[in-house]
């Protein structure tokens, strides 16, 4: 079994699966259970300033989006940062870290955008002996309306400023947690780097309304007939997060900046994907909230088996491996030509490929009276929609054409050479450059 030991910012944990700062990590009791279950690290539920404890709603905090059989695809929450006294949290962190020296323990912090506030809390966090801190610049609800969380994360200058204060007043790693509720994730990431951050973690939750109760006309979760936007997470947000992780990983200005990947990590495969796009480890929340801490076992075993199959002996072997393959559209090879191919033996004749292609795409699939579905190469643009809607795995595949063959759709010979939009004759910019 491949060794999953992962070192992130010099912090070594027995595996790359950390629990994200969230409800599951709010108390010593939960965190001990998590470590006993085998999690490699924990980012403690965000702590705030000393003083009167945070107040949460006393009604539902979570909304949900279901797939088939009530499978949780997305959760949203309106819970705030920890509502327990600061001192209690700090004492618990110290005890847990002392008892689990081999695990990563990170303190997540959110205090007002005043240097004094950070100066007050950082030494107290340092005293606990935790391995580092994560700056919560992400939560989109409640705290952001008080000028914290996403309100900071949406202003790169604030990110840089606060990060710098932290680096000046704390000597262990500083991770900046980013909000996805912005237009271009590279700007806050650059700001974090410029402020001296050791890493960024992303994404925090996405501003969302999960559903509307059509009887009461209230958004869910509903508190006495009213709802407010919450933070969306779970498998549904993973594609958004993967793109943001890749954006940062391949941005020249932030290249090399360590990333902790967050957003819908539910299986070992999700983790492997995040890490292949440059994340040094992953943080998990919704999967644990849905299935309990025990799911980490599948993640560990799965990642290890996959690494064995691929011949990777360390997570470092595959971290970032997919980053060079993420590019801009304009650099995609326009000489690559593929055609859909339907395996007639595997086909169960549902006709979904036909409906999708005929109604919404390129009329490139024919249907015979006895329900044989075949691709019309002269119409197929290889859009992949038929593959995506086919209920049978590998029944429809995209088969690349060989250079020298003639594409019956365009009448052109498939060329072996790579050629992209930047040099395409239809590109006005390309012509202008001549």
């Amino acid at each position: 079994m491949a060794d999953l030991t992962t070192t992130f910012l010099g912090i070594t944990s027995p595996n790359p699966f950390w629990l994200a700062s969230a409800p599951p990590t709010d108390k010593e009791y939960n965190v001990r259970r998590a470590f006993e279950a085998g999690w490699g690290g924990v980012v403690w539920k965000t702590i705030g300033e000393d003083g009167p404890p945070i107040v949460n709603v006393n009604g539902p905090r979570y909304g949900v989006v279901y797939g088939a059989d009530r499978r949780v695809l997305g959760l949203n929450n309106i819970e705030l940062i920890t509502d327990r006294p600061l001192e209690v949290n700090l004492e618990e962190m110290a005890r847990v870290k002392a008892d689990y020296p081999d695990r990563a323990l990170i303190a997540s912090i959110m205090v007002p955008c005043e240097e004094e506030a950070w100066k007050r809390i950082l030494p107290r966090v340092a005293e606990t002996g935790v391995d580092g801190i994560e700056l919560n610049f992400g939560c989109p609800h409640g705290m952001s309306e008080r000028g914290m969380g996403a309100a900071v994360g949406q202003v790169p200058e604030y990110i840089e400023m606060v990060t710098r204060w932290c680096k000046q007043n704390y000597d262990k790693p500083v991770i900046v947690k980013l909000t996805p509720n912005i237009t271009d994730i590279r700007y806050p990431a650059r700001a974090a780097k410029n402020g001296g951050a050791d890493a960024v973690s992303l994404i925090n939750t996405v501003s969302s309304i999960t559903s509307v109760n059509l009887d009461t006309m209230s958004p869910e979760p509903s508190i006495d007939g009213k709802g407010s936007h919450g933070g969306y997470c779970g498998p549904a947000v993973k594609p958004i997060a993967l793109n943001m992780v890749a954006d940062i990983a391949r941005d020249p200005e932030t290249a090399g900046l360590p990333i902790s990947g967050i957003g819908g990590v539910t299986t070992w495969r999700d983790a492997a994907e995040y890490m292949s796009l440059g994340a040094g480890n992953v943080q998990v929340c919704t999967a644990a909230m849905t299935y309990g801490f025990r799911i980490v076992e599948e993640m560990k075993r799965g990642l290890s088996q996959w690494m064995d199959e691929k011949g990777y002996t360390s997570t470092a072997d595959f971290i970032g491996r997919a980053v060079p393959n993420v590019t801009d559209w304009q650099y995609l090879n326009l000489n690559y030509v593929a055609k859909a191919k339907i395996d007639q033996d595997a086909c169960i004749k549902c006709g979904r490929c036909y409906a999708a292609c005929e109604d919404t795409s390129h009329q490139a699939i024919s249907m015979s009276p006895d329900r044989v579905f075949e691709v019309i190469d002269a119409e197929c643009v290889a859009c992949n929609l038929c593959v995506d809607v086919c209920p049978v795995e590998d029944c429809i595949t995209m088969v690349p054409m060989t250079p020298g063959e003639v594409d019956p759709r365009t009448g052109k010979t498939v060329e072996a050479d790579y050629a992209n939009w930047t040099t395409h004759p239809n590109n006005p910019a390309a012509q202008a450059a001549e």
Binding site: D69, R70, R352, M367
Partner: protein, 442 residues
């Protein structure tokens, strides 16, 4: 005291608890979450094979999607638009040879979408929560006589009434429903569903049912034609084929359809006598229903004797397996040659058969089975034809049930063409109604 070992034909072989358990709903209704999970398996196929396989062409992918999105009542309307007896069909259709056999998931994994149970979930929900879902059109002043209140007659009457015509149904028996009421295994239609379904169907208005009115017995086709703008005949098949063997007249040799009708109408199934050793001759659904229910009533041994091989048996493999699972013995390639006994039947003598060049012949080898009750289930015949032209022993029809007489349509088991299934009868009644409507309104 109940005693399964009582010799001969006797009532009360099983106690009330066992009887109740035996005749409980064959398939429990789906709960709403079960329905959601089952519905989610539907692929919403293009030009779906299940719809093609349904004699009433219900838009199955649409109604299943409506269940998926939490609107079983709307799903039921989709069903009832095509098949007003969709509730009964959900219970009695041989889905394993119709929609579910055609389901692509049957091809893919041998496990079709549970279309029948989903249809029942939708129709039960609507029938429990709402009244009648359709509104009758303005009265047209036209009158139509429907003879027979079985599935074909009811479906025809409903469609005609919906279009504003006044319909009188003449039914020979004491209750409407036809085979839904007097045929079909009890465990497929528990809690008087057949009766409740007719009451619900009548909610459309414009339909009158006159029971005790049989064609040829006080009711003449000519008089009906004279008094109405159109006539629809759905009289079913009133006769039962004879075995034509020695000893057939002995006590204990009975028609399976009569036994099933008695069973369906019994107030208390413990009062219904059944043999200790029962032999059913035949291979269709009637044979299965008679045999299986004999077992459920407490018969010690029940044998179905079918003259051809299993592959030729009209009852589906699913029904065969169901019967076998309840302890019914299925014998193939045997035909009755004599009924023995002293007054009452005591034994039945069977001869093995072989099929040579398409014809069935006895091999000469015989066996005897103890039998104190023998049920004949070798097909039913038309007994009332109203003087119309016939085809293969049934009322000849063309198009949507047009007979040889002007203004007279026919459908269901009494008419030529189509399988003798509830769902086929519904389709024929519905289509005849549309044709009648077209003829009356022009």
């Amino acid at each position: 005291m109940p005693d399964p070992m009582t010799q001969g034909i006797a009532a009360g072989r099983l106690d009330a608890t066992q009887i109740a358990r035996n005749f409980d709903d064959l398939h429990a209704p789906l709960a709403s979450h079960e329905a959601a999970v089952a519905a989610d398996r539907c692929y919403f196929c293009y030009d779906a094979p299940c719809v093609t396989a349904c004699p009433t062409a219900i838009d199955i992918p649409l109604f299943i999607r409506q269940i998926q999105v939490g609107q079983p009542e709307a799903a039921a309307v989709t069903i009832f638009e095509q098949n007003i007896l969709g509730g009964m069909c959900a219970r009695v259709c041989p889905t394993e040879t119709l929609c579910e056999e055609a389901c692509v998931r049957e091809a893919a994994e041998g496990k079709p979408v549970e279309i029948g149970r989903l249809q029942r979930y939708a129709t039960d929900t609507l029938m429990a929560r709402q009244g009648h879902p359709f509104v009758r059109a303005e009265p047209t002043g036209k009158t139509v006589a429907v003879v027979g209140a079985g599935p074909a007659g009811l479906a025809c009457a409903h469609r005609l009434a919906m279009k504003g015509h006044d319909v009188t149904i003449f039914e020979a028996k004491g209750k409407p429903g036809g085979l839904n009421e007097y045929g079909i295994a009890a465990y497929k239609t528990v809690d008087d569903f057949a009766g409740r379904e007719v009451d619900w169907l009548m909610g459309i208005g414009g339909i009158t049912i006159e029971t005790g009115q049989a064609l040829g017995e006080g009711l003449s086709l000519d008089a009906l034609r004279a008094d109405h703008d159109a006539v629809f005949l759905a009289v079913g098949l009133g006769g039962v084929n004879a075995l034509g063997v020695e000893g057939e007249a002995r006590d204990g040799v009975e028609d399976a359809v009569g036994f099933i009708a008695d069973l369906r109408q019994a107030r208390d199934l413990r009062d219904l006598p059944v043999g200790r050793n029962v032999v059913v001759i035949g291979g269709g659904m009637t044979a299965i229903d008679a045999a299986l229910q004999s077992r459920l009533l407490g018969a010690e041994t029940v044998t179905i004797a079918y003259r051809r091989g299993r592959d030729r048996m009209p009852a589906s493999r699913y029904e065969q397996d169901l019967a076998a699972s309840k302890g019914v013995r299925l014998m193939f390639n045997v035909m009755p040659v004599a009924v023995h006994g002293n007054g009452s039947v005591a034994e039945i003598e069977l001869e093995y058969t072989a099929e040579r060049n398409g014809s069935l012949t006895g091999t000469g080898e015989t066996l005897r089975l103890p039998a104190d009750q023998v049920f004949k289930a070798i097909g039913q015949v038309l007994t009332t034809d109203g003087g119309l032209e016939l085809a293969c022993g049934k009322i000849a029809v063309t198009g949507a049930g047009r007979t040889s007489a002007d203004g007279v349509w026919a459908g269901g088991d009494c008419a030529s063409g189509g399988d003798d299934l509830t769902v086929t009868a519904v389709a024929e009644g519905r289509d005849a109604a549309e044709d009648i409507h077209g003829a009356l309104i022009g």
